[in-house]
Subunit: 141 residues, 2 copies
């Protein structure tokens, strides 16, 4: 897929820009997150990379966060990570509390309200967290 190539170039560019090195571990983590269709925990990333040490996953994800390649998604009690808006259009999640299935939500209204609230409160916006929880049709039956 052509698109994947472009994303990988962007990944390298962003690492270089922040003076970090392009390594196997970081590349692998990037690929795992690119393939995942939902935010993953450190452990979930690790499970897909048995050849890598867990500590290295912690450290590399931290570097990817600093390089703004990855972003942090607190979901309930969990710390999850997914690719930043440079790789995936900005969105939020609607999560089923029973089966954990996660749907991506794109809603421009919310972004607008978010900005308005910041202006009203004299806040220079940095980021926002927004997660919806419910029970999905499947689990209701």
């Amino acid at each position: 897929m052509q698109n994947t190539e472009r994303k990988y170039d962007e990944f390298e560019k962003m690492l270089r820009f922040s003076n970090f090195r392009i390594t196997q571990t970081k590349r692998r983590i990037f690929e795992v997150l690119l393939t995942a269709n939902k935010p993953l925990s450190i452990n979930e990333v690790y499970k897909q990379l048995p050849e890598t040490h867990l500590v290295s996953v912690y450290r590399s994800v931290d570097v990817l966060l600093k390089a703004r390649i990855v972003k942090f998604i607190p979901q309930g009690f969990k710390r999850l990570y997914e690719l930043s808006d440079s790789f995936k259009a900005h969105h939020h999640h609607a999560v089923c509390e029973l089966c954990g299935i996660s749907k991506e939500i794109k809603n421009t209204e919310i972004e607008k309200i978010m900005d308005d609230i910041c202006v009203e409160n004299g806040l220079k916006p940095t980021k926002h967290h927004f997660e919806i929880f419910g029970i999905c049709q499947n689990c209701l039956n």
Copy 2:
């Protein structure tokens, strides 16, 4: 304050409804959260209750969560707690990333959009988390 009396009655009623006991520890935690003007971590609650054991704070907050007297607020990497909507009108927070000051946000539009999103996605809503982060006027200077 008359209002505090009413809230305390509600607190007892809700505990009884869920078959939990009304104890000193729970009452004290409730008072700490009633006085606090922002969500607190387990440790922050504990610091105000030196006579109580830290483990008891964990356990009692857990009971208060189950009784829906307290609700969970994940904020960045922190697990915070505050009184539920039965005691404080439903709201969200705008937090300064530098000084940590927390402003309460009440916005009915957001609640409406939230519901719409659930309907669109065939989700029976249970809860949502929504936190805005930025830099406040004070810290910008």
